[in-house]
Amino acid sequence: MNRIAQGLTLVLLGAAALTSTVPTDLYLNWVKAGFGPFLIAAGVVMVVLGVLVIASELRGERHDAEEADEGPEHAEHHEGHGHDHARAPRVAWLLLLPVIAVFVVAPPALGAYTVESTGASSGPPPRTERSTSSPFGDGLEEAGPNEVTRLAIREFVLRAWIDEERELAGRRVELVGFAVPEEEGGDGWYLARLQMSCCAADAVVNKVLITDRPAPETDTWWRVRGTWVEPEGDLYDVSRHEFSIDEMEEVTDPPDPYE
């Protein structure tokens, strides 16, 4: 990989980082919103560095640097990679792979496929040790009894799972998520949302089961209003949290697909 190639690779990689953050919100499909400024900064640094490298190369600055590099180059010959005056190992070409991923594939947010392949196992941590007054912080207590409370699916599931006070019972809540068919031809579907703490690789599934409406098309987004179907017995043993819908409307994908 010669220096022009290295410089151009850096410019393209920086451009990919900037394209997915500045003119579009593409980056929200992959990482937390908080990463945006860092990605922009990293993109700017890479573009500037790439341009400086190309500029220095075109001015012929390299030729006086070449002799000084004979030592390190020799070591690379020994390792078997790096040829001629190439100054970066061949593996550096792989830096173009994220560029291609962004510009050609533009990967969408994780959706129903991930929910289905993750199965029913994941859920929020049952922090039963913590019996402080309100570990939820979802504003359900503050809202009036007849108001519709907007909850993240994560908050709803947490309530449904560990709230021994059963504050959720009888309350109208609003949830936003995407539709996932129930596995093995079950009688319902799931409204699901992925929770991300850093990037899509650590996404955790939260979902509620819906049985009183026909399943909409997979991966379509819905805003639903309704109530929690209160289960019998110990909440902690419940693995599927059921939701009864009063009204539902389709929404275009929310700008940030993760919770």
Partner: protein, 356 residues
């Protein structure tokens, strides 16, 4: 900054102009008669190659994006891009910091700050890992530049292990994830620091210099500090970045291919579950700033198993193995990674047994 960096250029035109002019000038050097013989025509070839690539990407985007709809492929692409882009800022700023260490901090500074005896330098390096925020992707190039600045390799390696594991951001993230369980935060700090320092000491005792391919740097005598800075950054991004992509590919593939249910069936077995979560940490290659949130979501596992996930993840994972191979060579990785794994697990069992 750009003014100083380009001080040796003709100051008349702006940077963009000089590049554009440069490209135009090379345009007529294409004749294939001297193809590959002169640097100029090779450069032109490279420019053409990239022009071709950009065109291909434009067509690919227009034609293929309707074809690429396989859900498994898209999930893979999303996770690959996510890992790459999450690591990118850390890589860039880690590389910038390490290049700044090379270009602007005189060697004498390290001699004053870090004890000359390696066995005393190791704990100092371990504790200083607790001060500098940075993740795995940043610490590999930083450790490389510390070694090439004359810091004892064992101390630099201890820093490499400790910095991503116990830095302030990671400790805060762990405290947030394990709210109400301060013992988990303490256990993570102690176990990671212990493992890093012990690995450093073992390296002092048994490590051999020729296992480590010392990072080679383009240092031109008499070059300006900014030029050294630029060249070091370029060198490090190209070496560490390529392997970061390798790690991201591997981690994304495993993330999509390995069903999580397999893991949950073993959660009940006491020692096996610890080993399984350690293995999971290696395979998933999650950034150390995020791994606490993943650990806390693995509710079926014992606290010691979760601790193993958080202790092993920052010191051994696919992304890190690939990056270390890029900076230090495979001979090093073949010895260092098993050492980290064994010491990390021993430290996990010890601290987990005492504190959790």
């Amino acid at each position: 900054m750009s003014e100083r960096t380009t001080h040796d250029s003709a100051p008349s035109s702006s940077l963009g102009d000089s590049i554009a002019v440069g490209w135009d000038d090379r345009g007529d050097e294409l004749p294939p008669a001297d193809w590959g013989r002169r640097a100029g025509s090779r450069r032109t070839g490279t420019v053409w190659l990239f022009a071709l690539l950009i065109t291909a990407m434009a067509f690919g985007h227009a034609w293929l994006s309707d074809e690429l709809t396989g859900p498994a492929f898209l999930a893979w692409a999303t996770i690959f891009t996510a890992i790459s882009f999450q690591a990118l800022p850390f890589l860039v700023f880690g590389v910038a910091l390490s290049a700044a260490l090379v270009a602007f901090v005189p060697t004498s500074f390290y001699r004053r700050f870090i004890p000359s005896s390696p066995s005393r330098a190791v704990p100092v390096a371990g504790v200083s890992g607790a001060l500098l925020p940075g993740c795995e992707c940043a610490s590999v190039p930083i450790a490389g530049s510390l070694i090439s600045r004359g810091v004892a390799p064992a101390a630099a390696l201890t820093f490499l292990l400790a910095a991503p594991a116990i830095n302030p951001i990671v400790m805060i993230a762990t405290a947030v994830a394990f709210a109400g369980q301060p013992e988990m935060v303490l256990a993570r700090f102690v176990a990671s620091l212990l493992a890093s320092v012990v690995i450093g000491w073992i390296w002092v005792r048994f490590g051999r210099a020729d296992w480590l391919r010392l990072p080679s740097r383009p240092t031109t005598p008499g070059a300006s500090k900014w030029r050294v800075f630029r060249e070091s950054m370029l060198h490090d991004i190209m070496h560490a970045g390529g392997y970061l992509v390798v790690g991201a590919v591997a981690a994304a593939t495993l993330n999509v291919m390995v069903p999580r249910e397999w893991l949950l069936t073993v959660a009940g077995m006491p020692i096996v579950s610890v080993l399984v979560l350690a293995l999971l940490a290696i395979l998933l290659s999650i950034c150390s700033e995020a791994d606490a949130f993943v650990a806390v979501s693995l509710t079926d596992f014992s606290p010691t198993a979760k601790l193993a996930f958080m202790v092993i993840g920052p010191i051994v994972d696919l992304k890190l193995i690939a990056m270390q191979a890029g900076v230090f060579g495979w001979r090093f990785v073949a010895r260092f990674i098993p050492l980290c794994l064994v010491v990390g697990l021993a430290s996990t069992f010890l601290i987990g047994g005492v504190l959790l």
